[in-house]
Subunit: 445 residues, 2 copies
């Protein structure tokens, strides 16, 4: 047992006892993986992992992996407080009771592995403080990008690197929908229905299509990439529900794909340093590796001052990939515990979060207008009044209406928002479509 | 100083003194990076890195980063044996004197960071043994794929994962050449000349175009992915010098790209376990993310039993990306030293290496033949005699000759090699082109 034998610093096999909270999709896959691969894991890591207690909500449910009698309980706090447990894996999700359980585990000197993006994106700073005070690890590779080793890449491999920007496709549901709209020329509604049918979307897809899931992941990514306190409330968020097949067609004709992009950017140094974090649909050139990430896959593109451009790609969700990520964390935390140290040395700073109003970007704006004389002049006047200059425009006639698609020069978000408001007030404008920011194209044509 | 104060297990700042061997492209970038980012590195890692001694070949050479007087020396062994040095970074390259220096450093209880793919691919097993005996780290993230955190992903993140296959584009020079042949429709010679002009290839490109560089990296990748002793001599190697623009055109028409692919595969369990390691040109479907990796970029695609498919992408070479990778290793090793432990717990096994003769694949074979009656029958007879069955064939008339391109059904390498030998002996065959194996297409049409 780890804590009972502080002198055991050698590389002999140590048993680390794990308490698992929650045994659904990911938990079940984890139990199976640890049970099945126990020998291979010991051989590779020098640590024998044993999941000795599992807390579940419903004890009467049939489970493939209940294991020896007495392993299952419906009292999660008793697992956390069990003195025989060295490490706690939290796979319950949501804020409570997950937060209280993790806090209690850390207070009891147990390291914690979690896949809980909602909790970490909301109370990550507080939980990190607790972990640091306890001298224990709080690891959460599985909270973003499934098995993609993103958290470790940013917190370990790139620990000496000044990361300037992270851009990612971190939500498989929306990426599946946008990919299908592009490749099969289906409408948003058809692609969504297909995604639900195939299990890539929940029957209530709000958390995905409105960008809530991606925003939580963006907060976690930014906090690790920039060693900063970033919460989900700091993230500007726009979902994909306004994206029309006409927008996708237009982008494709111009050599772009439309993706729901998670962005975390750092600007300035010292006191002038600021961080921008946002999730929104973006046009991204087909030359960019992110444009080619299709279907339910995730990818994260990192720009470092010295490392250059890096991209990590893989399946962003699913029981087995997430279990694989949890296991990686488990091994790091277990080996660190065995040596009475921590795997990570996290430092968090408070950095100014730049509001979206200060964003400078090029924008793609779609309007449906009545097809009558004077419309173009009225529309152009609104752009001009707010200082937003148009780089290119395309007009397609519908029946009694027309669709206008504008690409702006570099403009300030607040000016563009004022422009959109002005356009909505025009009698001749029937509908203002989804705003799509253009990425990687800083006003060069 | 690390070793003088074994009780200092707290998180207070510890200075780790680094001796650098070799100060060329990567070394210079490392010195600049460590000097410039010292504060940020301390803040993130809890370790103060100081490069206190630098061994160079030529003391008279002007350097931007020589630092304080006395830091430079031309006696590398004196750096290795300096009792004030805690960690040695070897950036000399080649077998000797790098090997003797690393061995001596490990014997003196110093952890070693190296970017030396040639040495690690040749004597990696021996050096790992030495490091294990010394209880020190031997880390080499920069030896494969520049700043791409591949070694760490395979050895740490996926430590609990059963990796079945790793496929990679690990040589930027050949990828640039093949990408140019495909996108700009240039010949091999033109693309090579351009690569040399742009600095993507050496003036003597042999090590790259013949696949030696990729083979060394493949050995390193396989040894980490499978925890096995794999040396560069185990790697089957075929370069890209036989690839013709006609091969690329043919592949493109069929929806494939041709890439120089590094492959490491594991088959079987226990006593039946075997590893195949090879580097050769391969046709890979445009649906596969590796097909879209163009120019000087590298990418490594990992298939794990639980993690699913992962890909890591980035710049594979260059002083700054490699320095960034070395720094990541430095921090891991320094933090481990501070805690009197090691970062990695490497285990190596001897596993049977499957010879290329046992490979089953589909093949693309190009022939230039005299355009006269009976040729097709003679060619088909050779295929038939060796039991290689043809899935599809395309014939293009040249002037007095014709080009035939065959795709086989799944066939055994030894049979295909015998077929090629038989084809070369036919009077009507002018030239047998480069053999290209087809990947990810196990005989389905």
């Amino acid at each position: 047992m780890v804590r009972a034998d502080p002198d055991s610093r050698d590389d002999q096999l140590t048993t680390v006892r794990v308490g698992l909270l929650g045994c659904g999709n990911v938990g079940g896959a984890l139990v199976e993986l640890v049970d099945k691969e126990a020998d291979a894991i010991s051989e590779r890591s020098g640590v024998h992992l044993a999941i000795t207690r599992i807390a579940v909500r419903d004890l009467t449910k049939d489970r493939a992996s209940s294991g020896p009698p007495g392993r299952l309980t419906d009292d999660a706090m008793s697992v956390v407080e069990d003195p025989d447990i060295d490490l706690v894996v939290e796979l319950i999700g949501g804020i409570e009771p997950a937060q209280s359980l993790i806090e209690q585990a850390l207070r009891q000197g147990k390291s914690v592995i979690s896949a809980n993006k909602e909790l970490l994106a909301t109370h990550g700073a507080h939980l990190h403080d607790l972990a640091a005070k306890a001298g224990r690890d709080l690891l959460y590779e599985a909270s973003v990008g499934g098995a993609i080793p993103l958290v470790r890449a940013l917190s370990v491999s790139l620990a000496g690197e000044r990361v300037s920007r992270v851009m990612g496709i971190v939500n498989g549901t929306t990426n599946y929908i946008l990919s299908r709209m592009q490749s099969a020329h289906t409408t948003y509604e058809e692609a969504l229905a297909e995604a639900i049918r195939l299990g890539f979307a929940e029957s209530d897809p709000t958390a995905d299509v409105e960008g809530h899931d991606a925003a939580a992941k963006t907060a976690i990514i930014a906090s690790i990439a920039f060693n900063a306190d970033v919460s989900v409330d700091d993230v500007y968020r726009q979902g994909i529900t306004d994206i029309d097949i006409a927008d996708i067609d237009f982008a494709q004709r111009r050599g772009y794909a439309i993706k729901l992009l998670a962005l975390a950017e750092r600007d300035g140094e010292g006191e002038d340093e600021s961080i921008a974090v946002r999730v929104h649909p973006a046009m991204i050139s087909n030359d960019h590796p992110l444009a080619l990430v299709n279907g339910p896959f995730n990818a994260i593109f990192v720009e470092g001052e010295h490392a250059g451009e890096l991209m990590l790609y893989g399946r962003g969700a699913g029981g087995q990939p997430s279990a694989s990520a949890v296991l990686g964390d488990l091994l790091d935390a277990a080996r660190a515990l065995k040596r009475e140290t921590t795997f990570l040395h996290p430092v968090r700073r408070r950095v100014r979060i730049r509001p979206i109003d200060e964003l400078e970007s090029t924008y793609c704006i779609t309007l449906e207008v009545l097809d009558r004389p004077g419309v173009m002049a009225a529309v152009a006047e609104v752009f001009g009044r707010h200082g937003v200059s148009i780089r290119s425009m395309e007009q397609v006639g519908l029946t009694s209406e027309a669709r206008m698609i504008f690409i702006t020069h570099l403009a300030l978000e607040s000016d563009v928002q004022a422009t959109l408001q002005g356009l909505k007030e025009l009698d001749s404008v029937v509908r203002v479509g989804g705003l799509v920011r253009v990425i990687g194209d800083e006003d060069g044509e």
